[in-house]
């Protein structure tokens, strides 16, 4: 009975993410440019979504808005039934810390921390670190085959290695929503493939909701659904 109710609840709120008419423009001295223009989409829980689009079409901008580190000009965004942009900055930060994992386009590892510590830092943000956390972090690093460089500083790692650490960092706290901005964009096709496989493996294993921005159609095709960012709107391709 309890199990049943649980399922019911989930099926009524079947969408992890729902975007309604999101707009965003940037104004510079050269004038105002509209980047996002009525972005609307529903993303079901536990699915993997790919977003493709031309360079400069606003994919990173959209991910920033989805993660709450940027705000839309108008429109609404519900994540887990929470309207992300009508809560306070403080609450939004707490939400991001707890529910979102972000793999940045340019890794963005903290230079002062080792690979392991970079991963652990995300965990520390959740609360005090325990021995178990350290073991867990090590385990995650192992699962994406970078554990042997756990004590290295980012400056001492190659691009691919940094990307693996960044992935581990985004996954360590088992976020409900994983946002990945071209997680393999800076890598050669072979490495890209290996890393992407590891990522997909983890996502599927943990049944996470994931949104992945990519230029590669090959990668996009492995997602459950594909959107294209075109003239500031999301167009469903599948």
């Amino acid at each position: 009975m309890v199990v049943f109710l649980h399922i019911i609840q989930h099926s009524t709120v079947s969408f992890m993410l729902s975007l309604r008419s999101l707009t965003k423009s940037y104004s510079t001295t050269a004038g105002t440019t509209r980047i996002l223009h009525d972005c609307t989409a529903d993303i079901p829980r536990g699915t993997m979504t790919a977003i493709i689009g031309k360079s400069g079409s606003g994919k990173s901008t959209l991910l920033n808005i989805l993660s709450g580190i940027d705000t839309p000009d108008s429109g609404s965004l519900l994540i887990n039934d929470i309207s992300l942009h009508s809560i306070t900055e403080q609450e939004r930060t707490a939400f991001r810390r707890k529910h979102i994992g972000f793999i940045f386009q340019f890794f963005h590892l903290l230079p002062g921390l080792t690979a392991l510590e970079n991963v652990l830092f995300q965990q520390e943000l959740q609360g005090r670190l325990s021995e178990h956390d350290i073991r867990h972090a090590y385990h995650v690093l192992e699962s994406i085959e970078i554990a042997h460089k756990a004590e290295y500083y980012p400056a001492q790692l190659s691009g691919g290695e940094q990307q693996r650490v960044a992935i581990a960092r985004a996954l360590i706290h088992k976020p409900d929503l994983l946002l990945a901005d071209e997680p393999t964009g800076n890598l050669d096709p072979d490495t890209a493939n290996i890393i992407f496989n590891l990522l997909v493996h983890r996502i599927r294993a943990d049944k996470q909701t994931a949104i992945i921005v990519t230029h590669s159609m090959e990668i996009a095709e492995r997602a459950d659904r594909i959107y294209e960012m075109r003239h500031g709107t999301l167009v469903a391709l599948q």
Binding site: S67, Q90, T93, L109, P111, F121, Q122
Partner: protein
Amino acid sequence: MQYLIRFIFSLRSLTRHPLQSLFAIVSIMVGVSLVVSIDSATKNANESFRSSAHALSSSATHRIISNSLGVHDSVFYEIRMTLPTLALTPVCDGYIALRKKYVTSQSARQHTGHLLGIDALTYGRIRTNSYDHDYSTKDLRTEHTHHSSAEANFSLVQLLPPQLFERFLRGDGMIITRGLADDLDIQTVQDSLTVFLDGIATHHALLAILDNSPTIPRDLVLCDISRAQEIYYHRDSAPYPVVHRLEFACTNPVLLDSLKRILPKNLSVVAEQSSDNSLSTMSSAFEMNLHALSMLALIVSMFITYNTVSFSALQRRKEFGIMRILGVDGRGIAWLLLRETLIISTIASLLGCLLGSIIAETMTAIVSGTINDLYKSIGVTAHLQWRSIAKGCTIGITTSCCAILPIAWECAHMPPRTIVQHSTDMSTHRSLLIMSVAGLCIFLSAWVLLASITHIVAGFVAILLLIVGSALLLPLIITLIVSSVTRIPLVKHSLWVMIALRGIRLSLQRFSIAITALTVAVSTVIAVTIMILSFRETVNHWLIQTLDADIYISPPSLVARTATGMVKNQLMTALIQQTGVHTYNTFRSRSITLPHTHQDRMAQLVSLHLSPDSYQRYRFKEAVPNPWKEWHNAHTVFLSEPLAHKTGLHTGDTLLLPTADSMRVFRIAGIIYDYASDVGVIYINSRHYQVWWQDSTISGVSLKCSPDSIATLLQSSRTLAQKYGQELLIRSNTALRTTSLQVFDSTFRITDALRLLTLFVACMSIFSTLLAIQLERSHEHAVIRALGMDARGVGKNVLLQTTCAGIIAGLCSLPLGYAMAHILTEYINVQSFGWSLELQVDILSILGTLCITIIMAVGAGLYPAYHAASTAIATTLHEE
């Protein structure tokens, strides 16, 4: 054209980093202003000091002075009769306190004037030779105010309208300058003056007010010799009228010889030059003190300028690396840097001079206040010192350009790839080691220098070496501190703390600069604090030991440190004969010129009448076996420590002194610790002084009595003074000690100002470096925020980092400050004053300084923390 484009390019790059350029400019500006203000204050003070010594002695070549009291009036007439060709004039010359008459309220300020009593008829003969032509065309009909040209000087007396001149000759009144009149709130000559000397008041009419002129000392009070004699009459306490000296101009050796032959034995002829010398040596110790301060200020501000410039270049290494890759050669970059530095430092130096000349006025006031307390009353006028400004500009620009050279060299010689790669500048272990070894060597060389050369300059060079050495050592020290702290388990498990600490390691070069700046400034403050404290404690100790009487009586003195006034004779007798007085001591203090073998040095001759129970209050640095037995010997003197140090004399040596009738040999039976005067004191038994110098006047008396009669004696002494018409300072033991310490403290007021300025400069510099470091870290902050740390957490992280920097700086400045204090007290003080001081370290004030350091670092971190907390995450991430 090409140069113009390059110039514009440099300007562009400066405006592209407005904040950095601003900080660089402000730091250099403050440093330069420090140099300019202290330097011109010193110069102003010196000039006034010198001009008040020189202005009154221009064309006379010789002086006839007495070694006891003044020169007898009759001598003047005798010489004129015998040698009618000699242009001779009598002069009375001294300092007095002035007030506008009938202003009785306590609020009316008393001012100090330089009283010059002259005989206008004869004075003109030797004074005006070179000025005559100036007045032929001058119209001087205005009765009361005389517009004199700058060269007018004192020959103006000759040009007073006949009726005024006559009044002047009759001794009807005084002439003062417009400046002094303003100070005294006197508008017209209808007002009159009250003059105080040794607490005795006399009233005088005003004859004229001279317009201000740079050649006339502002504090000049001119009157006829007869009037001056009246004012001084009580002092001379001689049965005959005296003048202070006779002046004459004479280049004929035969005439000079015949003059010497007819001169009474107690008078001597000195060349004008040598008497000037002795005047100027009096100020040299204080000058040294000022030089010490401005040297310190200079070192600190040079260092901070260096920091600022090298920091802003360091920040742009990446940009230079890209330019190198794009094809600009190393020399091009070096020139670019140099050009930019030149622009920035020129702007900053000019602004610094502006600021400096504003501060200089306050500084001058402080310095002149100190001089008045210590040596003599002079009115110091603050005017712009072009040489100080030139000095400030030169130092600002050269230091900046020198600072940029190693960095320009580095950027020019590095392979472009490495410059770009180093987004962080984690220095290699090798370079750290090399720097530290160099630092240690420089440290050692400082001590070697001190051990081998005993000159004051060596002391300052050693301080500079200490600073440079510690700047080289600091990166290693910081690395060691940070890495040992990160090993502490509690810290190790908090990545949040780790980010802050490792951040210091990562930006080691930048943090080193910030921490070094703070360390140098704070250690300077600590050093000066320790020095003053040691000084003060030593003096206090000495005062407690020396002041053993219960009541001290002396006439008010214009100069706090020397009491050369005189107590009226009958009053003196009445004072010591009061009932309740157990024993009494008297002293008579006068200045004396040491013979040529001691560079005509000026010293204080103090004649003491001591009751035997006072003997034990004197502490000897060295002495013959039974010094107080020797004391009764007619040819025995004691020297004060500074004088012994300056003259190199020791116990057992002999000293030639000019007594009333001839030079006499005295034996030094002991060297006494004395902190009252850096001029140097010779002590002599009053019984013998009165014979040798034929002077029985008394400058002051101290009374011993039973504790319960102190109050009544104080009261009755005051009544006595009133009865005899002399205003006296009658103080209890504690009151005198308090005033003495107050005088001491005022000596160091200039130092306080310097300490504040140093801290301010340090504040500026660490604020700018910390802000720059945090601006560079803003990307990292954005990442941390994106990962889910709230704004407060980021702000706290920045504060944690800056606090750590503050703590490290505080810790490092303790030993450095102590070492500098050691040099200041043991070398520089000894070389310039000759006092032995015991190094005193007050834990509380040191802890206080430590706290201030940390507070400064935290304060400097507040804005950067706020800035970090309000990072726009998406934009900042996008920028990278």
